[in-house]
Each structure stands twice: as C-alpha cells, then as structure tokens.
Subunit: 600 residues, 2 copies
Amino acid sequence: MPVGTNLLDAARQAGVELVAICGGEGICGECMIRPTAGSLSAPTLTEKAELAANDLAAGFRLACQAQVVGDVRIEIPPTSLTTPQRLQTEGQDAPDDFDPPLFVLDLQVDPPGLDDLRSDESRLRSALAKNRHPRITIERKVLAILPAILRQSAPDYRLRLVIRRNTETEHETKSLAAVLPANTKIYGLAVDVGTTKLAAYLVDLENGTTAARAGAMNPQISYGEDVISRIAYTNSHPDGAKTLQNSLVNSLNNLLDELCTEIDAGQPQIVEAVIVGNTCMHHLFAGLPVAQLGTAPYVAAVSDALLFPASDVGLKLSAGALVYMPPNIAGYVGADHIAMLIGARLKNPSQTTIALDIGTNTEISLFHNNLHWSCSCASGPAFEGAHITDGMRAAAGAIERLQIHGTEVQIKTISEQPATGICGSGILDTIAELRRHGLIDHRGVLKGQHPNLFLQKEKGGPHSAFILASADKTAIGRDIKVTRLDINEIQLAKAAIRTGVETLLSEAKITAEDIDTFLVAGAFGTYLDLDSAIRIGMFPDIGREKYEQIGNAAGSGARAMLVSLKQRQFAEQISLSVNYVELATNPAFHKLYIGSLAFP
Amino acid sequence: MPVGTNLLDAARQAGVELVAICGGEGICGECMIRPTAGSLSAPTLTEKAELAANDLAAGFRLACQAQVVGDVRIEIPPTSLTTPQRLQTEGQDAPDDFDPPLFVLDLQVDPPGLDDLRSDESRLRSALAKNRHPRITIERKVLAILPAILRQSAPDYRLRLVIRRNTETEHETKSLAAVLPANTKIYGLAVDVGTTKLAAYLVDLENGTTAARAGAMNPQISYGEDVISRIAYTNSHPDGAKTLQNSLVNSLNNLLDELCTEIDAGQPQIVEAVIVGNTCMHHLFAGLPVAQLGTAPYVAAVSDALLFPASDVGLKLSAGALVYMPPNIAGYVGADHIAMLIGARLKNPSQTTIALDIGTNTEISLFHNNLHWSCSCASGPAFEGAHITDGMRAAAGAIERLQIHGTEVQIKTISEQPATGICGSGILDTIAELRRHGLIDHRGVLKGQHPNLFLQKEKGGPHSAFILASADKTAIGRDIKVTRLDINEIQLAKAAIRTGVETLLSEAKITAEDIDTFLVAGAFGTYLDLDSAIRIGMFPDIGREKYEQIGNAAGSGARAMLVSLKQRQFAEQISLSVNYVELATNPAFHKLYIGSLAFP
C-alpha cells in the first residue's frame, strides 16, 4: 500500500469493508480502528473533533483520516465492519461469475437536417444497425430522453448506449436500457431490504467491483416493527400498502442519492437494480398484496423472479432501468434467503451444508446429496432484544459479550459505551455462561450461589434474576439483569431454530453428524459467539471448525446477481428445486421442539 | 326491426352511427332525426322537454326516444351522424380482418391450503400449464391483482384470463393481459386524438363490433389552439408537456368512464388501447418531447410503432393493458394519417389513389404502381373558421351550405339555428358560387353586380365584401359576410392542398388524369361539398365519381388495428415503404404553388 493512502481506501482495496456512512468525510465517526503495531499519520483536527476523548486516548483513529506511513497492523472493532471480511472479499472478486445482463456500446448518430428528416429514433436505429445491432427493443421511456441527449451531443453526436440482454424468455432479445453522453460510467444498485435495516450498494457494471455502499433504517418501522404488524397496518389502512411502499422507495432514493454523490455519478448512470428482501418486504416493495401472508395458509402472491421497470415503483434510476427481484420460496422464506444462498457461494452442492439467517423468522436451508430443503421457524424477536427485560437492539451501549470468571462478571458493550441494555449476542453469552457455571439447570431455572444471582420465589411466578451490570456501572441508573422469563424467551427461540435444523435433517434422513458445513449469515449471526450458541443447544455440537459466520450474505448475493446472469439462473434453479418444509404441519416438528427446549 | 325498438338501437344495428353523447338517455339532444314516410311512437315527455318547439313542429324526433311501430323511412341530418354511414359500416364489419392480439382463456385454479402452500402465481401457472400455456409472461402489475381476484372467485376458483400474443419481436411470446372473474366480456379502446376533438370507441374484442362511442373536445385547447402554440407552451413551461399530457389523459379517462357506464362494463375489462393522432398529439400523449417538432428540420422523436403499458401514462385500463400507437411518417405526417389509410381500406394498392385529411395541416398520400408517397401541406386554419371575418367552427348556427340563385342567397345553418357565422364548408360553397356567377375573377377579386355585393376600393386595401346573411336574419345582430381578405385566405389554403396533390403526382411522374380514386377523410372533408371543392380548384376536376368522402377514417383505422394484428403489420409496412416528400425543399413545389393560387 503506498505511503499516504488513507486506511479506509487501503481497507477497501484489501476487500475489508469498513462502515463509512459519510463516504470517508470524517463526519460519521463510524470507521474507528486502532493500530496494534506500527504507526499512522498524526491524528487530524477532524479526528480530534469527531472522536470521544477516551477513544482518542485509547489510540482509536478514523480510518478515513489516518494515513499509512509504513507497515502497520490494525485492530478493527466489529462495529466498524459492515460485514465480516471473508465474505465481502468473495463478493467483490468472483471474476468467474462476471456475466452482467448489460453492456455498453459507443456509437455516432447522424445529425438531423433538411436532407435527413428521419426521426431521432430512426437515426439511432440506423447507427445501431451499422454497429450490428439491428434488432433492439427501445422502450418509450428511453425514447423520451433521446432527443435531448442527442442534441446535447452535438456537433459530433457521439453517444454511449447501454444494451440489455433479455434472457428471461426462450429466445434472448436485446433492449436499450439507457442512452448516455459519451464516456459515461455505468452502475447497478443492489439492495438488501431487511425488516429493520436497508443495505445498499453501487456496483460498477464494467468490472463488477463495489463502488459505494450505504445503510439506513427501514422507514417502515414507524408503521410496525415486524412483518406481522406491517401486514396488519396494510389491512387496516386502505392505502396502507402504498404508504409502506412509498416510504421504502423514498428511503432508497435518498440512499441512492448519497451513493451517487459519493462517487460523483448521476441517477441516469444507474441502469439496473437487484432488490432482495423477505417475502413481505419483497411484496411491499413490488406493490404486491400482503394480506394473504398474514393469514393461514400464509402463501406468497408471487414466487417467480420479477423483472419490471424501476420507474414503475418510483425508484429513480435511468429511464430504461429494470429491477430484478429473485424468486421467493414461500410466504416466510423469501428472496433474501435465496440471495443469502447465492452470497454464501456454496462450493460443492453435494456437500452436506446448513445455511441459516437468524431473525424474527429464521430461514434455514439444508443441502445434502444434491437435494435442497428449506424451512422457516418462528424464532421470535428475543435476539433483537424484544420481550427481554433489559433487551435492546445491537446499538451503542448494548452488552454484546459477557464472561463469568468466578464472582466477577465481565461485560463488553458496543462502542465501549456505558451499558444501556443487552442485545442478542449478549443474552446468548449470558445464558451460556450461567449454564457453564451451573447457575441455571437444563430446564432454564436459575439456581446455585453467585453474588449477582437473586432467587425469589413468590406467588405470581418466579422473580429470580442475574445482574449483569449494577446500577452504578450502567447509563440507565439501575441494574441490568437477565430474568427467568428472559431465559424462557431465549429457550423458545433457540429451540425453534434447533428444531428447524433437526426437522430438515430428519427430512433428509441424516443427523447433525453428517453436516460438513454450517453457515450462519446475517447481522446477529455475525456477532453471536458460536461457542455460546452451541453450548445452549441452539446449534448442534458438531465441532467448531464446521461453522462459518458469513455476514450479510444476502447483500453479497444481491450484488452477485447484479453482475451475473448465471447467478440469477442459479437463484431461479434454487427456487424450482427446493423442497419447502412447512413446520406447522410437519409430524416430526412438535416432538423435536419439546426435546429442544432443554439446555444441554 | 322488431316493433318497440328505439331508433338509436335500430340505427346502430344497421351500422348507422348517430351522435348520442349521453348514451341514449334523451339528454344531449344530438340524435335528432325526422320520419319522411311511415310513423313512429308518439313523442315522449323527454323529447318535448329537450327539442326546440320549432323542431318538434317540423317533425323532428330524438332517435333514442322514438320507437319503431311499423315500416318507416327516416331522414338523418348530417349533424346527427358521427361520420358517414358507408365507412362506419365497413369499420364495424370487416370480419376478414378479425385477428386480435388478445384472446380469452377460462380456467380453474387450485385453491390455496395447508396442503398446497404454493404462491398464487404458482397455482395460476400450473393451471395455465394444464391448459397448454406453459410459457406465459406475467407482469408484476397483473400479479398484484391476482390474490384479490382469486379469493373473490372462491369456492370454485374459476377465472377468465386474457392472453396477449406479442408479435412485436422475432419470436412470438405470450403474456397475461388481464385476470378477470369468470364470464367477463373484454373490450378495447380506440381513440383518435385530434388537435381539436377526441373520438373514443369501445370495441368488443370477441367479435370486433363497436360497443360504444363518445366524443369530447381536446382539453389541450386551453393551452393553445393549434399544434404550434402547444409546442410553444411546452417550451415556455418547465412541466408544460406533462401538463398537456395529464389534461389529455384525464379527458380520455372521463370518456372511458362514460363509455364503460354506457355498456355497464368496468375499466378492468378494457384490456388494450389503440391511440392515434398527429405527430404532436402522439408525442404529447406518449410523453415524448415535442420541442424538435417546432424547429427546423421538424423531426419526430419517434417514428416506429409504440407499445407500452397504459398505466405508464395514467390511462386507467386493466392492470396489464398495453397502448399501441401506430408509426409516424414524419414530423407533420403522423400516426393518424396511417390510421386514416388503414380506415380507408384501400382495396387495391396498385390502383392510383389519393387519400387526404384536411386540417391546419393537410396530410396527403398517393398510391401508384405499388408505390406510396406522402406529404404534409400547411393549409392553415381557414377551413376551421380561423382568420376568416365571420368564420367559426362547425357548430350550431354556422352557415355550412350556400347557394346563389339570381339575386337570392340561400343558406343552410348547422342544426337549422339562426346564423352566427360561417364554417369551412360554407366558405367553400360561397366562393364556388361567387365564382360560378362571375362575382369573383380568377384572381379572387370580387366584381360584377349583385344586391349583396359591396365593392369599396379605399386606401389601406380593398374592403369589398359579399353579404351571406343580413343583420335582421342572423343571431348576432349584424351582417355575416365574406370579404376579399377571406377569399385570399381560402385561396392560400386551397392552393396549398392542390399543390400538395400535384407535387405527389409529379413525384410519381403522373397527372391528375391518372387518379382512379380520390379519398377525402376527416370532419371537414366529410361535410364539404365536393363540387365546390372542385370548382375552386382545391381538388382536380377528374370527374365527381372518382371522389369518396370517407368520414373519420382515422377512428375507423384505430378500431381496425385494435382487433387486427394484420392491420398493425400493414400500418408498420406503410411507414417503412412510404416516400415522404418534404415540400419546403421540393424543387417543383413553389412553381406549382403559384400556379395553384388562381381560381379555375
């Protein structure tokens, strides 16, 4: 890395994805890192203004400001990483997959004149024919911008066309996706629409690299925190679905604006999008009804891949840009699960592989012997901090790691802020540690002796609890604790996930011992401690080395599909070949579930 | 015709198209007719309220109210006819052309259930496959309405699908144009968007008959009377083109509402539209820029046929409905000219045929020896009453016919109302009659002796005039007259039209004597007196029997294209094979023009 390179760029070049919401302007403070060996340029005024005094004192720097001055070794706090390093590198490289549906064609058009009275379209078509593209569909919306761009290109009338290969029907056709001034770069937009968060990426369509990325909250949260409450909102408000669609599209347009500004591009240069999300997010974005997702038998309106004009839903890309949405598997196994499987880049489909993404619903796939099963289990929102006494989302101040050493309880909070609550990975660690020290029994009942443990048996239910941080050490002025009821919530959640895994294994007539690879995707899946997850029985104890935490594989899969028709075909094959297993009606499910509730 | 049938229905069944804006409710008073032999049911209260006392006394009736009681012979005033009878009959029959792009398919879909968790789309596709349609493209917008219609169809889940044959690309594909409840009729919408007037038709897509028709003014008139002033409006207002598009689309949606109410249909049953108009109306409707139509070399943005979702421009048809717009030939020879040629149903393309539609611009086609030439000439708005002292549009009270018998001047006004001005056909008659009686010379100068003729030569120009109706006989309290300057305007207009005809003949290296058929289309072309037009030299004197007035052939052509892929192909062939002749740069034009100014 040349001396003078800032660490944000250096990290990007190395395939490490640091959070840089502000695009490296030193404003957002998200790209905190710390040198552990070697040294960096001196802290800038921006860093001194932006970083907390204690962070500065502890040696923390902003990657976008710090410059390389020689060999240096860097510690990256998990909060500064958008997703784990391993996966994103794969997502960015993968040159064998580069097979985009669009290509550019530079050409020169005859000028209009009294001796050439043909329409602008005719002159463009004649230039296309000369360039060996006699049969190109040109949509009305693209034709509408042609006269202005053509006249701006005077006097030489050179244009850059973006041509799309339409492989969706039996016979490939070509259409004009964009008309641009000469020498304009083109990009695609990939978005993972989570129920809670949006992750958006601009991908350079000429080489497949990720040019910019940005994240935001899903604005639909103000209409309901989870999928069920959003469906309820659309059922009780006549234009509810439209409201939810518009709020999402507006946020995406704002994110796109940010991304474009970051790389100095304009929306007309964004010529295709891939949008993934769970079935409900998919349907709300695509303007499909969701009522039937909220009532038995919970079927999707649409399962096949969708391809439609971005302008149809108000997404502001180039005039002819299309949105591709990969297939949904079922009402609760959506396009994001398929994108996750694409992003996971399964090396060998004959290997026995489990891939799951933990959320309010946990979608699980099992590949074995070239067959594929999937299911969704209602793991609930406990790992997102909901229904937990002091639970919170994974935000600054959340206890995300916990260890018990004798009488001492060591906690680590996100951003090293004073504790304000406990997030999913913290609860997981807590229960695993309590179990390890015999402070809860296999049923989840608190027991034994510890200074932080209070056992109160009263009428009206147990009030036993374990204090993680005492009032004097928290930011909220009271103890942060885990109660018997919290442990129950986690028991239900981990049992649901484990039962999902076991049900798929039983469908395939194999056992956990047969699993070669166990992939854990998504934000919680990235930050959870695998040993804790195994210790509480959420994941089978098949050896730590078989597990991989693959980060936001859905986002990576969306980017892969943006630049690869092969990956889209793969997505469509997955949806056709998968055996969807409905747990509610599965005979093995209930027995397995009861058996999974206990802690090992 | 059975006794008791009302005359409006009887006329429709006979292929005679009476104006019935109100849909036969007895409100609009447009369908006035008069029995000349036999009798009708007694006048209704509605007729007594609606008809003027003198009309009632003269035996006039409303066709929608009067019922057949026995054999009867009916006189139909031209104002009660939407277009001449001959053409519309042809437009309605033509069973050899019935080859619509859409067909219906009735099928039954498996219901969703816990034992069938497939998406609604999957269950529909499986029903399609069972019905031998395994490969059907289904657009997002159609999928969006599927869940609701499917659940409405419970418990038998029978649907009527409308499938579209897409023949636009090399390989025909099929797509789903609409999903409807079982046993629903389907219609198409055809519209001729004139600069001044809109004519809309609903066509039954299962048999090709016209189910309903309605007309309205083009609301864009409030932004500019002619094409040039509307282009100027879009140039001077940032959202001007959008404003003009919206105003037109709103009017079309209102017309559609009327039409649907008339036949008790819903918008989801209208599954395709054909819209024709001159190049400017075409571009404004389709959201294409028009600036380049207003400045040399006046080229169209688009010349090929367009096919796009109706919802893209806000036209409220079925969710998957497309709009077809036939090709434009040039900036001033538009899709409506091609529609007119289709509507004219040229029997034998090797016959030498002239076909023209007179307006502010007059578009002319010449077919000779299997070749085709076309041009547009700036005939100006004189025939629409503009730039004429007492000129007016062809509305009630306009003098539309005139004869001079010695000292007497006989006039006929539209709707027999007291005269308020003179419209195009009246001016034409006036000049022809003045010329026949030697009251104007070949240069257009008023001369000779007549009680109505005033010759005043003054400084500042001639003030000679001929009085058509004296103040005591008009509704405006003053004389209605034609002046030397008015005659000049008509000279310029008729010379432009004749020169256009002669230029095309000279391109084909033939003379007027070679013409086999001379077709005159459009509203003015329908009401003008052919003898008058020939007498003033606007049309060549090749024998009255070679002329045919074919009414609103553009509307008829639009309807033909709605139900016939062959006619669309024919339209596209015309646009590819036509030789467009630009008069402005044509060497023969100016000489011919000077020679055409004089009266024969």
